[in-house]
Amino acid sequence: MPLLENGRLVEDRWTTVGSDDTLPTTGPVIVPLDRLEDGLARPAGEKLGVALPSDADVAVLRAALPRLALVAVTFPTFRDGRAFSQARALREHLDFAGEVRVTGRPLPDQYEFLLRCGASTVQLPDGADPAVWAQAHERFTTAYQPSVRDERAEGFGLRRFLGQAAN
């Protein structure tokens, strides 16, 4: 599936494995949370990611996090906004500096919110038009609250400048 980063399509180097799939011994792999131990048992140099279900507390990753290069959060439907809190907690509470990937069925109108909560990439749902997502990224230049991206202040008060140069 197409992968979006900063409004642009990028190549996806990761392999996502399911609960019953064989785990490749080499290469970047995303494992489900219940196979985290298997993933961690791979050679230390191999890149590891984990897919976090939306009902999981990010704190379960605390011990493993130094070994993780990617955490995937998911939207079972666009209405289920738990992934926003998970992404933010990963950045803010656990100081996770790796890739936070969004999967599932988010809307393009949620893209800017996701970035401001700390997401790095979005695995676009089937049939999504990357151009609509790119537009959503450029739509607004101002936000009204702090975020984990620590955007610079715009004028006075709470406002932040989002940096997608107005045109």
Binding site: D57, G81, F140, T142, Y144, F156
Partner: protein, 567 residues
């Protein structure tokens, strides 16, 4: 403070009572309107299905009702200026059927909107710094506030600057725009609760502390199918921690609130499930873990936002109170209106006036475009152009000189807006009901009109005294029937509209949920039943006792007999 505002060429003097937008705020709204224009075009061309379009229109306050689209326009903390009010009149005249409906959330709804007109309506609203953002959807809704904020003699501090800060903070909040369910915050600066703080997802009561403003915090109140009085979460939250603490509160809700059943998804259910103590522990843990510096609300930020509020120059002549007293002595009708429709002001020679949107036999909260224009003109002449919408669906003019009150009342009379019934039995709250709403089981408006007509006599209303009737057309309780001294709930009985009575509810400091009196009744029998309840109260009350107090003292049995023993 005003020097900076006056130096801003686009705003001129800041509007009294609310935040003045600047170019950045306007550019943001413009972008939002253009985004929606694009979405509507994609819907009209068929590129978007109704399923895909629905969440997008809901984020802009556009509902599909029984007969047409309804557009709900935000009135932040219930305050608007005369220029904005005139734009609402224009929209009512041009795009609706010449009227608008003011709501219990201090907003206005237009009930007969065409989808293709909505981008233009939103553009017109944006031109006067208004919008419909977050008037629906599972996000933080309009922040509501005391209708006498900044004016009431009993107020400790004006909560509107903090209401504006919360409005900005919650606008397109990246983490909290897809919560389990809608989320309502009310804020008051008075120890006398006029915002129903204990019936909101979060209720805040601001007060001066030893080192600046602090807040008492209530959580988990609400109406709906499961009415709950909110719990007192904490006292004396320092101003600089306001946003951090709210982030922690809403985040715990976003993470743990139920998403499997929309009737169990409000924060009140979570607080009940975890217990107040359990919820408080999670919030405190989150608050302790978060980057507090990032979410700190520094005094400079509060001051910068405060600086964009206009403040009225209150300089009434020294004989203003005497002249009001003289006018009351010579005009008995005016005197009655003053008794019922005013509220004491903090400044000598001033008073707050309440414009009733509950005329005899009328529809609670409705106003014609001519009336909306008239209120704008009256506000310009008598109250610094500032207009407040109350959660009781009335309009308040906050700062009126006492010596000008008689002239104001006469102007209201000419516009058909001088009903003297505030806080009385005619001051009914009602939801739109089955006349408009696809969720309703019964029509709320006709029964409100019948009750209003039945008790039209102002002398009778005044004799009955403080009595709040609140009507909901279904169990979702938009008419707040749980909090009515007398609550009326529309139910469907085999295809017929019936009404269930509840007694003893209150939204104030003595917040309580009304108790069901007995079997539901048909519409006309319900109107008769309320007349019997009132008769029983008049017989049994002691001096100065409200209906609610008599009910609480004597219990339900007497009132039950009054309604059902006759049948």
């Amino acid at each position: 403070m005003s020097a900076e505002i006056l130096a801003t060429p686009d705003t001129g003097a800041a509007p009294v009572g609310h935040y003045a937008y600047d170019q950045v705020d306007r550019a943001f709204l413009h972008d939002r309107v253009e985004q929606f224009r694009d979405q509507v075009a994609r819907r009209l061309s068929g590129a978007l299905s109704e399923d895909e379009f629905k969440p997008l229109r809901l984020m802009n306050g556009l509902y599909l009702q029984l007969h047409a689209y309804m557009l709900r326009v935000a009135i932040p903390y219930g305050i608007l200026d005369s220029r904005q009010m005139r734009e609402l009149a224009h929209i009512a005249r041009t795009y609706d059927r010449d009227y608008g409906h003011f709501t219990t959330r201090q907003n206005i709804q237009f009930n007969w909107i065409r989808l293709e007109d909505t981008p233009d309506i939103l553009a017109r609203l944006a031109a006067v710094d208004m919008h419909a953002i977050q008037t629906s959807g599972n996000c933080i809704r309009n922040i509501t506030c005391d209708q006498f904020a900044g004016a009431a003699v009993d107020e400790l501090l004006d909560p509107r600057v903090h209401a504006e800060i919360l409005r900005q903070w919650s606008t397109l909040h990246p983490e909290f725009s897809f919560l389990p369910r809608k989320f309502k915050i009310a804020i008051s600066g008075s120890p006398n609760d006029r915002v129903a703080a204990r019936f909101h997802d979060i209720g805040l009561v601001a007060k001066p502390g030893r080192h600046g403003t602090v807040f008492d915090v209530f959580v988990g109140g609400g109406m709906g199918r499961t009415p709950v009085v909110g719990v007192h979460l904490r006292d004396n939250l320092p101003e600089e921690d306001l946003l951090a603490y709210l982030e922690a509160m809403v985040r715990v809700y976003n993470e743990y609130g139920r998403r499997d059943n929309i009737y169990k998804a409000r924060i009140k259910i979570l607080v009940q499930a975890l217990s107040a103590e359990g919820y408080r522990e999670k919030v405190d843990a989150e608050f302790a873990a978060m980057d507090r510096a990032r979410y700190r609300l520094p005094p400079e930020t509060v001051a910068a936002i405060r600086a964009r509020f206009g403040t009225p120059v209150l300089d009434a002549p020294s004989d203003a109170a005497d002249r009001l007293a003289e006018a009351r002595r010579t005009d008995a009708l005016f005197d009655r209106w003053v008794r019922t429709n005013t509220h004491p002001h903090r400044a000598a020679g001033y008073i707050s006036a309440v414009v009733s949107l509950k005329p005899d036999g009328g529809i609670p909260g409705d106003a014609t475009s001519a009336q909306i224009d008239a209120i704008a003109d009256i506000a310009d002449r008598f109250s610094f152009g500032e207009i407040r919408i109350s959660h009781m669906q009335n309009i308040v003019l906050g700062h009126v000189r006492q010596d000008q009150l008689h002239a104001l009342w006469q102007e209201l009379g000419r516009a058909g807006l001088a009903s003297a019934n505030i806080g009385l039995i005619g001051d009914i709250i009602a939801c739109p009901g089955l006349d408009y709403c696809s969720l309703a089981n019964a029509r709320s408006i006709p029964i409100a009109q019948k009750l209003s007509a039945r008790f039209a006599n102002p002398a009778l209303q005044e004799r009955i005294g403080d009595l709040q009737i609140k009507i909901s057309g279904c169990i979702n309780a938009c008419g707040h029937h749980h909090a009515g001294h007398i609550g009326i709930l529309g139910v469907d009985k085999k295809g017929e509209e019936f009404f269930q009575l509840t007694l003893g509810g209150s939204a104030g400091n003595d917040a309580a949920i009304g108790q069901i009196l007995g079997p539901a009744l048909p519409e006309d029998a319900t109107v008769d039943a309320i007349a019997h309840l009132v008769d029983a109260y008049l017989v049994h009350r002691t001096d100065g006792e409200r209906f609610l107090d008599t009910y609480r003292r004597l219990g339900a049995a007497l009132f039950k007999d009054a309604v059902y023993a006759l049948a």
